[in-house]
């Protein structure tokens, strides 16, 4: 198992390097600099001398290959550089924003797993029933509804009409503030998980080994527990892993809407203001998190299904 984990972790290194290269190239070719972003609100451009100094101070006056060399050298030392905007190390800027994003993403995923997986299971066990039809219609709707619109609707009903929850902000970071953004973010993965679980269970239900188990006289509960759940879990876990990454990426919209101070809103602002070191750091962090979660999922799948580690 250890060699499997090491192998999976080693496989992430070229991916991280490729992403680092891609981000660098992308943000080297797009127009606009941090200095020019400071004039975009129409209050007047920075004067030419200050702009020139700013570009020099941030190393933007160097040729691209020099900048790339410096960037790689910094990365090798696990140094993400300095933020142009905050003039603080990127690592500390990201650290400030990482916890709220993790809170939001975990809460959204917990919401989607706790509801989506059982719903899909029940729907598959009663195919064609009302519960199956209703849950699948709900799942398709959940996948189709734009997050921004759903978030606004939730704000309107649960904050403005019912007055149960605050409409925005981080507050003390507690459940009162977390609930609305987490649910708005969790609806799409919930829908996907419900559909995936249903499809996986239905497929396994028709498998030979399930038929054999039933013909042996095994109780339905034991069939579900030992054969259906265990085999479906591999597919469900893989979907959860992939959805974790998607949720962190999609948190951008929800964070902006609910003024939630996470990585997503930081990333959007940093792209707009061309705070390139923060953009690079934030994307790398999201990619690494995605890889980590999926490596964990692979390990779990290997534990559940021993055949996987040999493939």
């Amino acid at each position: 198992m250890l060699s499997f984990i090491v192998r999976r972790l080693l496989q992430t290194i070229p991916i991280i390097l490729a992403v680092a290269l891609l981000i660098f190239v992308m943000f080297s070719v797009i127009p606009g600099t941090f200095a020019s972003s400071m004039g975009d609100d129409g209050r007047g451009m920075l004067d030419a001398q200050v702009m020139e100094r700013m570009n020099k101070e941030f190393g933007l006056a160097d040729p691209v290959y020099v900048r790339f060399g410096k960037y790689i050298a910094q990365l090798a030392q696990l140094d993400l550089g300095m933020s142009f905007r905050t003039r603080q190390p990127v690592s500390s800027v990201l650290a400030d924003r990482m916890w709220p994003t993790l809170q939001l993403s975990f809460a959204a995923m917990m919401f989607s797993i706790v509801i989506g997986v059982p719903l899909g299971f029940i729907a598959a066990l009663r195919p064609g029933s009302i519960i199956d039809t209703v849950s699948m219609v709900g799942a398709v709707s959940g996948l189709s509804v734009p997050k921004f619109w759903l978030g606004l609707l939730m704000m309107y009903f649960f904050a403005l009409q019912l007055g149960w929850l605050p409409s925005f902000g981080y507050g003390d970071g507690g459940l009162r503030y977390l609930t609305l953004p987490a649910v708005a973010l969790g609806v799409a993965p919930l829908a996907l998980l419900a559909r995936t679980t249903r499809a996986a269970v239905l497929e396994i239900m028709n498998a030979d080994f399930v038929r054999t188990a039933r013909s042996k006289g095994m109780s339905e509960w034991r069939v579900v527990q030992w054969h259906l759940a265990r085999n479906a879990l591999v597919i469900v876990l893989t979907t959860i892993g992939l959805q974790f990454g998607t949720v962190i990426g999609q948190a951008v919209v929800i964070e902006k809407l609910f003024a939630w101070p996470g990585l997503g809103s930081l990333l959007v602002d940093s792209v707009t203001l061309r705070d390139i070191p923060v953009v690079q750091g934030a994307i790398l962090l999201i990619v690494m998190f995605f890889l980590l979660v999926n490596t964990l999922v692979d390990v779990l799948c290997a534990i559940i299904d021993p055949r996987i580690k040999y493939t």
């Binding site: 004039g39 209050r43 004067d47 003024a259």
Partner: protein, 528 residues
């Protein structure tokens, strides 16, 4: 004429309507919003020129001057008096002896000298350098040829002499938050960036990056009895729709409105009572690059001004959240000329002017624009058929804000649409059309006119009423020359809760409030 008078009267009424006769109540929390993005740049206001950051800075910090919204001019803040030499170049400030930094030390002339020297550090890039450069010897420090600014002289702890390089009103230069006075001893420490210390009415309490900044009342603030509230909480809320829900849910006390919300709030009997409207010093315009051949001809530029029905666009697309621009200087400018008439919508005249300029068959140009709803692609799309009527074809080049500012300052465009600052100092605003002003500074259209240069130079050398008259004359020349399509002046609209009092109609940027003037009534959900 009647219309202009009505607009000016409405503005005056709005401004007048804000003055309150009630006795301010002490206590509670003022809940402001920072609506221009999802974060503050950082807590060192010297590094940012953005309005978003200036919102919190006015709570924590103070500058040599404040902007007096009622009088619509800069007023002394950290000094109790100032005298100017006969040549208008040497200013002697009698500084406050009761201004105390949040760590308990009195402000002295040394702090101001240290701050201005810091802003001119040639190895750094502080945006405030543009203002300090007006002090004699500042450029030498910037270039590394001197260690301190020679034009700054400490007479004693509370007396400071500033020598300027030209005859300007220093108030227009030293009221911007990026020239906030820092405590020399504390500002050099690394902790200053996370726990700023200032002279403002509120002491820094908490900052959750991307969410909120909270300040608590500074008991030793130099204005007796102020600030009124115990705390000020500034929520960072870039999303207009979310602000709308939060405002209606009474979670915030103020919200800056866009055109669509403006209409909705006007139509609501309760919400319409809490709208503060101000003609901000921003002129929305289409800049025409003089290096693009057709735009080098004044008649073409005038034709474009005649070909566009600005009033219709303001009414239908901007939902009335703007004032029709007559010239460059906006309604709230001291040199605004109420007798100046806007270009009339007259497509026939436009065609005639184009024919005279040799473009009877029209021409095509590329129009660089962002997606901004009030001065971006939606406006360009409305203008396209109007220009087509007179034979001019337009190709839209969509860009984002950061790119717009870059291509415009480099002159890499044919036409752009933007909202540019046109105040508060009318001289500075009009100097953007002086031939000596580089395109990278603010002469974005690369405009050159010897007559205008002469009038502006005369205005710079004069003062008082004479200067105002000359600036009006300069504004009229700019209008006649039409380097831009004069679209509108921004009508900034702030929705405020009925319990919030003391708001200031700040024409430089409505979202920027001096929070020591604000107070909340007992009915505020955050009154305790």
């Amino acid at each position: 004429m009647l219309k202009t008078f009505a607009i000016a009267s409405a503005l005056a009424l709005t401004m007048g309507g804000i003055a309150e006769a009630q006795t301010p109540r002490k206590g509670g929390t003022i809940r402001l919003t920072a609506p221009y993005g999802s974060s503050f740049a950082n807590l060192d206001i010297h590094t940012s020129n953005r309005a978003q950051d200036e919102i919190y800075a006015k709570a924590i910090h103070r500058t040599l001057y404040n902007w007096d919204s009622a009088a619509n001019k800069p007023v002394l803040e950290l000094a109790t008096g100032v005298t100017a030499s006969p040549d208008g170049l040497v200013y002697t400030f009698k500084l406050r002896d009761d201004a105390i930094f949040h760590h308990g030390r009195k402000m002295t002339a040394d702090d101001i000298i240290w701050t201005f020297n810091r802003l001119m550090d040639g190895t750094k890039a502080y945006p405030g350098a543009r203002y300090v450069r007006i002090i004699k010897g500042a450029v030498d420090v910037e270039k590394g040829q001197a260690k301190t600014i020679s034009g700054l002289k400490k007479i004693d702890d509370t007396t400071l002499e500033i020598t300027l390089t030209s005859k300007v009103d220093p108030g227009f230069y030293f009221h911007a938050a990026m020239t906030s006075i820092y405590p020399a001893d504390e500002a050099v420490k690394e902790s200053f960036n996370s726990k700023p210390i200032g002279l403002g009415p509120y002491k820094f309490l908490e900052y959750v990056p991307g969410s909120r900044l909270v300040g608590e009342r500074w008991e030793k603030f130099y204005k007796p009895g102020k600030p009124y509230a115990d705390k000020v909480s500034i929520s960072i809320m870039g999303e207009a729709a979310a602000r709308d829900v939060a405002f209606r849910n009474k979670e915030i006390d103020t919200s800056i409105l866009g055109p669509a919300q403006y209409v909705a709030y006007q139509g609501d009997p309760a919400l319409s009572k809490g709208l503060l409207e101000v003609a901000e010093v921003y002129t929305r315009n289409m800049g025409m690059n003089q290096n693009f051949k057709p735009f080098a001809d004044k008649r073409v530029r005038q034709a474009i001004n005649h070909a566009i029905d600005s009033d219709l666009i303001i009414k239908r697309l901007v939902k009335g959240k703007a004032y029709r621009a007559t010239g460059w200087l906006p309604l709230s400018s001291p040199a605004y000329d109420k007798n100046l008439k806007p270009y009339a919508y007259d497509p026939e005249k436009a065609k005639k002017l184009l024919a005279e300029a040799g473009y009877a068959d029209g021409f095509e140009f590329e129009w660089t624009a962002t997606s901004n709803e009030s001065w971006g692609i939606p406006i360009v799309e409305a203008v396209i058929p109007m220009l087509e009527k007179v034979g001019i074809k337009v190709k839209i080049k969509p860009v984002e804000g950061t790119v717009l500012s870059e291509v415009v300052s480099k002159g890499e465009y044919q036409a752009y649409i933007w909202s540019n600052t046109s105040g508060p100092d009318p001289l500075e605003a009009l100097k953007c059309f002086h031939s000596a002003t580089p395109q990278s500074a603010c002469n974005y259209t690369a405009f050159k006119n010897a007559n205008l240069d002469k009038v502006l130079d005369e205005a710079a050398a004069s003062e008082g009423e004479k200067r105002i008259e000359l600036l009006k004359k300069a504004n009229a020349i700019v209008q006649e020359e039409a380097p831009v399509w004069f679209f509108n002046y921004n009508k900034a609209v702030m929705a405020y809760q009925p319990w919030l009092k003391g708001l200031q109609p700040n024409a430089t940027e409505l979202a920027i409030q001096y929070p020591e003037e604000l107070w909340v009534e007992e009915s505020s959900p955050a009154a305790k």
